[in-house]
């Protein structure tokens, strides 16, 4: 029990961020008109591609002999980039069509 409490207070900053972000995420989305749901889902999809930062850290920390970390890290970087780049490009293509009509 003591250890769990210590863990919570050690990570209190992160826990605060999690809680605030949950509310913020709900607030921000709450006002979206249904016409923008698809681009929004796609945009959100691109944003969670931020997981690539983790992949870069794994890759960059791997020692040159550790082939498990190197191989999996490389794969993670490729997949993460696919998520980020593909996500933003697809969203942009969708939104391109919402240009103000003259």
């Amino acid at each position: 029990m003591q250890n769990i409490l210590t863990w919570i207070s050690d990570h209190q900053q992160m826990i605060y961020i999690v809680i605030l972000m949950i509310f913020l995420g709900i607030e921000v989305i709450g006002r979206v008109p249904s016409v923008l749901h698809t681009p929004l889902m796609s945009g959100a999809n691109a944003i969670h591609g931020v997981v690539i930062i983790g992949a870069i850290i794994v890759m960059g920390k791997a020692e040159s002999g550790n082939y498990v970390a190197l191989g999996l890290g490389f794969l993670a970087v490729v997949l993460g980039t696919l998520n980020v780049v593909g996500g933003f490009v697809v969203t942009d293509r969708m939104l391109e069509m919402f240009k103000k009509k003259k």
Partner: protein, 475 residues
């Protein structure tokens, strides 16, 4: 110094995600919002590569690998995203989402490997030697990422027609059992002999992958948007686990933001279909639908010729078009806009009635019609459209089925009972374009087709629309 600049970069990135999501909620600023978020992401990635420090001052190495991976991923991502047809967007989003999930799972696997080799796992969950919280986060990232990956790939396969629905008796129970086994395997790592803690961990990942597949397999077409949105928020949470792991605020903010927003979006979609999230998660839709439809006898329907349909629309005052997935499959959005222009030139008022879950994703139809330059003002949302149906002369249903099924209003035994629908029966006449009399993707018979006011116009949506245009031009 460098590490402080990194913190600043992450702060800016986090703000751009929030701003980006906020701007995406308004049609006028949406595109800029997306670009701002993309800019923030680029900043965060570059800052990580060049400024990140660990273990008190060590810089990242293996630059060749990192840039190689980014180059390959970026190239494939840009090419597929640029080349894909508008109609295939939903499955592509699903696929990219799966890639993110796989990325999160791989990170967890590598980090577990570290933990394991440094002997940081033993029976005491929280102690000086083992960090139970860290292990829980690694396992959560691995499970959620794997489920998201496997589920997204199945959803992609289903939407592109490569994977068929599969349901068997007792599937909910099987799914629950697999989920419970996944979680118990994760905890077993702590009670097993420490030497072999990696075996239960990899069993956990394997089971999570199986769960992801089983979870999406039985779910039918009408639920796909909900599933993709849910898996999207899963990946968000998996990314946030990575943020916790590396004490990285940019990952944490982005991940949780998407997790929360995605969950809300999922719930909004469930509400539009009058179903609970639990119901979707357990995945009973496909199974019950099959049983209820077989027993219903087919009545008599009447067909209408292209000529008669053209005549009806030409002399109507107001025509309402109800697009559905059939329009997307046939790539008929441009033909549809052409018909709209032609009729408008002849003095007919033409509008579109958009059901929130028409197509395969919420807003799917809006994106398609926007691609064909249909004016934003002519797209009516469900409530507005339902108010206007009584004053409408002709409703043209283009490849939509479940969203206009009256069973949702008056048949309590129907699986879609209670879902708000477009009340097309209130109009004077209704022309339904379908390829055949086969039930829609959800597998439910549609009474609308047998009503006296309804006439059927069979054929591929694009071909039918082109024929209609040619016919109206001669009138």
């Amino acid at each position: 110094m460098g590490i402080n600049i990194l913190t600043l970069c992450y702060l800016i990135a986090s703000v751009t995600y929030i701003l980006g999501l906020k701007m995406l909620s308004n049609p006028a600023t949406a595109r800029r919002g997306n670009l701002i978020a993309a800019g923030g992401m680029t900043l965060a990635i570059l800052a990580t590569i060049f400024l990140y420090e660990y273990d008190g001052g060590l810089r990242l190495h293996n630059y060749a690998w990192i840039f190689g991976g980014i180059f390959i991923g970026g190239l494939i991502g840009t090419l597929t995203a640029r080349k894909v047809h508008m109609t295939a967007m939903p499955e592509l989003v699903s696929l990219f989402n799966g890639m993110g999930g796989a990325c999160a799972a791989l990170i967890s696997i590598v980090e577990f490997d570290h933990l394991f080799h440094e002997n940081k796992i033993d029976a005491a969950f929280f102690s000086d030697k083992t960090d139970g919280g860290m292990y829980l986060i690694i396992v959560a990232g691995a499970i959620i990422g794997s489920v998201s990956f496997a589920g997204s790939v199945v959803a992609w396969g289903k939407l592109s027609g490569k994977v068929k629905d599969l349901s068997f008796r007792g599937q909910h129970i099987a799914n629950l059992v697999v989920l419970l086994m996944t979680i118990s395997a994760a905890f077993f790592a702590f009670h097993a002999n420490v030497r072999h803690a990696n075996i239960p961990f990899f069993v956990t990942v394997l089971l999570a992958l199986i769960y992801g597949i089983l979870f999406v397999l039985p779910i039918g077409g009408a639920d796909m948007p909900v599933v993709i949105s849910l898996l999207n928020s899963f990946t968000g949470v998996a990314a946030a686990c990575g943020g916790f792991l590396y004490d990285n605020k940019a990952m944490l903010t982005g991940g949780i933001l998407v997790g929360a927003a995605g969950t809300l979006l999922t719930i909004l979609m469930c509400k539009a279909m009058n179903r609970s999230l639990k119901n979707v998660l357990i995945g009973s839709f496909g199974a019950t639908a099959v049983h209820t439809t077989v027993t219903q006898p087919q009545g008599a329907y009447k067909e209408i010729s292209i000529g008669d349909a053209a005549m009806l629309m030409n002399y109507a005052h107001k025509v309402m078009i109800v697009p559905g997935y059939g329009l997307a499959v046939a790539q008929a959005q441009h033909a549809c806009h052409e018909l709209e222009k032609l009729l408008t030139d002849k003095g007919v008022e033409v509008k579109y009635a958009i059901h929130p879950v028409a197509g395969r994703m919420p807003g799917h139809m809006n994106v398609l019609l926007a691609e064909a330059d249909v004016s934003y003002d002519n797209l009516l949302e469900m409530e507005q459209a339902n108010e206007e149906f009584p004053s409408t002369d002709v409703v043209l249903v283009l490849g939509a089925n479940d969203v206009v099924n009256p069973a949702a209003k008056n048949d309590p035994s129907s699986p879609i009972y209670g879902m708000p629908i477009l009340d097309v029966e209130a109009a004077k006449t209704c022309i339904v374009n379908k390829r055949s009399m086969k039930p829609g993707y959800a597998g439910i018979e549609n009474d609308l087709f047998f009503r006296p006011k309804t006439s059927m116009l069979f054929g591929d949506a694009k071909k039918v629309l082109q024929d209609l245009i040619a016919e109206i031009k001669t009138l």
